[in-house]
Symmetry: C2
Subunit: 420 residues, 2 copies
């Protein structure tokens, strides 16, 4: 069994953590920013140093490839993203890039024989922090392969017009135009040139840690739907309007939230997660009865029949009585569960077993670029434990040893795919 | 019985509606604005035309006075405010000024004998729309007479530093410095120079209309308290964090709102009003579990023992379980019920009876300048019906006939006070 190198991993983790260092343990490294450019330069420099060829496509996705023994063989690609959220951590995304680099470096340093070319990859703008949406460039690249209802959200031309949330003027397309790593459309990831894809990532949740495991053998990305639920009532003065005549949109929304929790919990699915993270209220003045409240509802579960049961509860809301307010619901977004390729999942499990590292099967609750790639070619993911389940924040942490373990699992899973 | 004049009332209502006309039925007339200046110029011009003397105090409150037959008698003052909220209506505040002007005009035109000097008054910055807080200048003028817990919120110097909500630079004090009607502190309303005060106002609620009455004989301004209730939980990813481990601050707040409604309604006081108008949520992202939510709670009832029962419910919140979140409560503001002078209230009732106009006793749920004046001298209010109970909005409406009826009630109540 081949092993990745702790010291080399540590060096990469420390170095990438400098690019966008926010000064208190984490990074802010927006896509296409000077900090993201530093990270990409370092990626290119290290990959060239082991003889890899660097290619970039028209949305600046980067590909570093070392040849295999069979010139006709398709590439095996590993990768993730190097952009972060505002005040994010040192692991989300970038660890998958570091793991891919480490696999290539280990293969070259140790002269590990392999048939297929091996590619380490950086996806552009996974977080969508500055230019929404998230997973923009995997969506664009995989567009023709996506199911129709998802593909409609990934029109190439429209995404190029996504406006910066900071200056509200510059578009993603304009920034991309002058970006050093904008390349050629012909270099895009594609199923003719690539055999399969692996993405290694921190778990971003507490399941592995709570179970005492280090590695998650990911079998799918959970299907989900996102709804907007709104209540329209009547504004009036808090002091002069009798309770009996009120149409209080906030009270309606509070009752609906409690009702949703009660009804969804009754279904009794322990793996079901649902979240109201956003709530808008108008006019939001302490002496005025609110006349409009809207909230989001994000629901995730592997099984469509479970999501369907929750959807029925959501769809029944407008027929109920909510403090005299009019309730409307609107679908904002949905996706089916994306299952990873069974053979690749098996390779990851075998690699973890062979190493004797504590592991378990796990679903991904979060979205990742790999889920779009999965419509194009066999794909899978490897999770590594996240301390306290924290992510998208500066305290995000996975030890260098755990990161190296995950890279070793990646390496040996890739070598199994190579040996097919 | 003396009567006010419909045509003269209509002329004033139409003319004041031009000052700050927002183009769709209402006005935006901030305190100390050019539009407020137009209104004050018109007030001064009409009052001078009937021989009134104009005085202004150091916060630009305006007083127009006609002499009575007894040179030693104290003045009887009537008034309200001429500033509005953004896109407010043509009646809130200004109708009380128009009514006071109409009383003086009727007395002069008809040569109605009276012993006391009669004063029509404009209070500066009642709404506090541009420079918070509301009722700023009655608070300043009545400061020495206010109960200690209210007076502490009305430090003269601090209020002068209140910053414009529009340009965030100019202070109320700076604007006042160059305002045409800034006058002398010695002209302030005071109990040595003034015998009593009347404020006529639209109801701003639906109670009179629902009961088929035109005039409200106001007996008090409701006591109230305002609390901030907050919940602190833990942010985490909506897709990766199991329900069992969550500390969802929004779910906590929704449960607390439903609990408050349930418990307060159980008390069974039909005249009790309570409102959550403001709610803050962090970080307010649809894929993130909220870690902090704070809401306001405004509670109003005449009786302190009723407010006390509600307060007990609020104070018990932190001891309860709220989705694993920490609950904190904080008093933001409170006032006791302010009862109007019984003799003056009787004069209003007698005047309404004598006219044969449909009337009833009513509490004021909203705050008014008169409530601060009441700590200084005998004070009362007269309400006139508001169409659909709407106020602080452009559709605010009371017919010219109803406004004239209210002015006539004011005139005859004032003449009763004069004849004491």
């Amino acid at each position: 069994m081949h092993k990745c190198d702790l010291e080399r991993m540590s060096e990469k983790i420390r170095t990438f953590s400098k690019f966008g260092d926010a000064g208190h343990g984490g990074v802010t490294r927006y896509s296409l920013s000077p900090e993201a450019l530093q990270a990409r330069d370092y990626f290119a420099e290290r990959m060239k140093a082991i003889g890899a060829t660097i290619e970039t496509d028209d949305v600046a996705n980067m590909y570093a490839t070392i040849p295999g023994s069979d010139p006709a063989a398709k590439r095996i690609v590993m990768g993730s993203h190097c952009d972060s959220v505002k005040n994010g951590g040192n692991y989300d995304g970038i660890l998958g890039v570091i793991g891919a680099m480490e696999v290539l470096e280990t293969v070259v340093e140790e002269g590990i024989p392999h048939k297929h070319p091996l590619t380490a990859m950086i996806w552009t703008n996974e977080e969508g922090s500055l230019y929404p949406p998230a997973m923009m460039c995997s969506g664009i690249v995989c567009h023709d392969f996506l199911p129709e209802d998802i593909a409609k959200n990934f029109k190439y031309e429209e995404k190029m017009q996504s406006t910066s949330v900071l200056d509200k003027q510059t578009t993603f397309g304009e920034m991309l135009e002058n970006f050093k790593y904008k390349g050629d459309r012909k270099n895009r990831l594609n199923p003719d040139g690539y055999k399969c894809m692996f993405e290694m990532h921190i778990e971003q949740g507490p399941i592995l840690e709570d179970a005492g495991n280090e590695i998650g053998v990911v079998d799918c990305v959970l299907g989900m739907f996102n709804y907007r639920v709104s209540f329209a009532g009547q504004s009036a003065h808090a002091g002069t309007f009798p309770m009996q005549k009120r149409k209080d949109a906030l009270f309606a929304a509070a009752q609906a939230l409690c009702h949703l929790h009660e009804e969804i919990d009754k279904l009794g699915y322990p793996e079901l997660v649902y979240t109201t993270g956003e709530l808008l209220i108008h006019p939001c003045v302490h002496t005025v009865i609110p006349d409009f409240v809207e909230f989001s509802l994000d629901v995730r579960h592997e099984k469509p029949e479970v999501r369907g049961q929750v959807l029925e509860i959501v769809q029944s809301l407008p027929q109920k009585e909510w403090a005299g307010c009019k309730c409307e619901i609107k679908e904002a977004w949905k996706r089916d569960t994306v299952y990873w390729d069974k053979k690749l999942v098996g390779y990851v499990e075998e690699a973890a077993k062979e190493m004797g590292v504590k592991h378990q099967y796990i679903h991904s609750g979060a979205g990742h670029d790999a889920q779009f790639a999965a419509y194009m070619m066999p794909t899978t993911m490897i999770f590594v434990v996240s301390k306290d389940g924290l992510s998208h924040c500066e305290p995000e942490y996975t030890s260098d040893e755990q990161c190296t373990t995950a890279a070793t699992v990646l390496l040996n899973a890739v070598l199994r795919a190579d040996a097919e």
